[in-house]
Symmetry: none
Subunit: 400 residues, 2 copies
């Protein structure tokens, strides 16, 4: 019996409310040996209070030593094993621009490129056109019609765009058409068993696109990569019986939330707006995913002090969330982003959970080192939702 | 390679002795935030000494957040993954009355009910007859004979009884015959592939029972639910090479012990009698499962002080057990039952293991918070038997 089957079979209706606050890339590292991490340096009286009131630990997003991208990091927090549900590059690119990926979709991440008269690629990025030109070319491609599929073409940036095919029975076992070197023509799409028809559709699309783009050098051809299907993830509603909503600023996280069945509040730009949206949505939903980006982006910039400030800004939001009296409040991250490394990392992520049914531990402040003493221990991120539901009294007993 | 295959392949004969003392529902919660749990409140000098002598930790019965029933909780302690070996409702009901379930058995939990002249159920519980009447009706049903199966009918309480079919090739993919509402007749049994013959036997049984009960309204009909087979668990002897005995008072735990191949000492009513039986059995066995119920029942009653007393009573048993000088002594629980929640819960269970080969940790008393600092850490209950066998020097090296 899998974890998802188990938890689905144990669902118990309740009207309790769960807030999952994800501070992207929350975990960090000291810059100097023996120093403090960003979280330990930040002045966070409200997070510290929450750590005292609840139970703490450190979450391992995928496996020890594995650095996750945003996709696997979030899937694990939503209770899915990121090794079971992988999000392909095409799907991820589509989510990143906020495209509402659905269960019948196959997506590819695409480049405009330049080809010579023999059709050989002379520039794999078409001279990095402006994003405006990208949108203009994409617009031309939107006239392409192929029977039995819906086609969506969406600009991303410069030479990059997204193709989404929507229809019954599509497959994603289609090779990249990018030959990965100049001087060669784009490759034909070939489908492995189950994806032959999809490959045929792709080849029709490419042939039509080549005609349309012919006179528009340097953007006179395209390559397609990372064909991937909607990962077929069962929704949070199905698995957990919750009514979930996402309050996120950035498209990627809204996309990931949609992928698991969350409603998404659009148009939010600031943490204040996210909190106001939380208050507005409070009676309509029972699971609230708040995403905070700046702990990650400052880490990626390698700016220790800016990450400290981002954490302190987040800390000021805690009282406003706790004022709603959620039955369960979780603060965690989808992975670590130590500013020392300027990138995502594999280090476990400080996590706190506040509920009436927490067993006390000795953690008095919210930080990596303190969380090591916490009652949640070092745990796998995919188990966090089980704990959230248990503390929200939404899980029945397993066996008698 | 599964855990069971691994450990079976590493068996090494030895005459060391292991005592597994299960205090049912041992783990608890403070009533007030920041307070102490039942175990932390109890005066337990002998358990504290054992914690100092050995190594401690907290066991997760199934998965974080999952609250187990007694079945999964005990299977995990016996070293079986409770998600791999599930104990059906019929089997569990049979175990609960101490019926010696065997490998060829299919069991169902059954109700006497009342039907009108058209055969429609008018009372799903037959007016809750006395347990004496239940036994009397069950006795009438014992005259039913069906070729190729042995039939056992056993009273439980009021309207409830158990049917066990024993024979070759029986299946448990048989629907409940209880329509779950009054005004409808009982459903016929239909078998899914592999269980058709069993369903036929069930329908023969029901038809004969209906004749026998016809003139005995309100107990003039029956419904059958929760068909389940013996879970086919390999025995402790096979997997671990031990000679095990169960010293338990309550039928459910004796039944669970039989299910994994333990001998069972019957007739024990008190902890003193269990200890005397331990002493008597000492030379005949090498694995001793002692079950203590009152840490759970007091927790279920929501009686914090009574649970404290139950723990203190258990503490007095420790010297008598340690006087036998077991090579390995484990004290744990099958799950937590915080009196604050009046029910089983998902919280990890304080656990101690004493042996000559323990590496010291800094735990000086036996309690939830102290165990967080222990050398066993937060661990999955199904791994505990591996540690028991290792410390008992009964496991060889894996690989060369």
């Amino acid at each position: 019996m899998t974890q998802l089957e188990l938890v689905k079979s144990l669902q118990e209706p309740n009207d309790t409310k769960i807030v999952l606050l994800v501070a992207d890339g929350l975990g960090g590292l000291p810059v100097e040996p023996g120093g403090r991490t960003e979280l330990e340096t930040a002045n966070t009286p409200h997070l510290d209070q929450a750590a005292r009131d609840g139970v703490c630990g450190l979450s391992i997003p995928v496996l020890p030593g594995i650095t996750p991208g945003s996709g696997p990091g979030h899937l694990a927090l939503f209770g899915y094993d990121p090794l079971d549900y992988q999000i392909g590059r095409g799907i991820l690119e589509a989510l990143g621009i906020g495209f509402p990926i659905g269960p019948k979709d196959v997506a590819a991440r695409d480049n405009f490129c330049t080809v010579d008269e023999q059709g050989r690629i002379t520039d794999r990025r078409a001279g990095r056109p402006s994003t405006e030109r990208c949108a203009e070319m994409v617009n031309k491609l939107r006239q392409i019609r192929i029977p039995s599929v819906e086609i969506f073409v969406e600009p991303v940036r410069e030479h990059r765009f997204v193709l989404v095919l929507r229809g019954e029975g599509l497959g994603d076992e289609v090779n990249d058409t990018d030959p990965q070197q100049e001087g060669k023509p784009p490759l034909p799409a070939l489908g492995r068993p189950g994806s032959e028809r999809t490959a045929g559709i792709v080849n029709q699309f490419v042939a039509r696109a080549a005609e349309i783009l012919r006179d528009h050098a340097p953007t006179n051809m395209l390559t397609l990569r990372g064909f991937s299907r909607h990962p077929g993830i069962p929704t949070l509603q199905e698995v957990y019986g919750v009514k979930p909503v996402a309050l996120a600023v950035y498209p990627m996280y809204k996309g990931l939330a949609r992928l698991v069945g969350m409603d998404v509040v659009d148009g939010l730009q600031t943490l204040d707006e996210q909190l106001a949206a939380l208050e507005q949505a409070w009676n309509k939903y029972d699971f609230f995913f708040l995403h905070y980006k700046y702990t990650d982006s400052t880490g990626e910039d390698g700016n220790f002090q800016a990450k400290v400030k981002a954490i302190e800004a987040l800390d000021t939001a805690i009282p406003r969330i706790r004022a709603r009296k959620p039955d369960v409040l979780i603060v965690t991250g989808d992975h670590s982003t130590p500013s020392k490394l300027r990138s995502h990392s594999w280090h476990p992520v400080p996590t706190l959970l506040v509920a009436d049914t927490c067993r006390p531990d000795h953690v008095n402040s919210f930080g990596e080192s303190a969380c090591l003493q916490g009652g949640l221990g070092l745990f796998q991120a995919k188990h966090l939702m089980l704990l959230a539901l248990a503390h929200a009294r939404r899980l029945g007993k397993f066996g008698a």
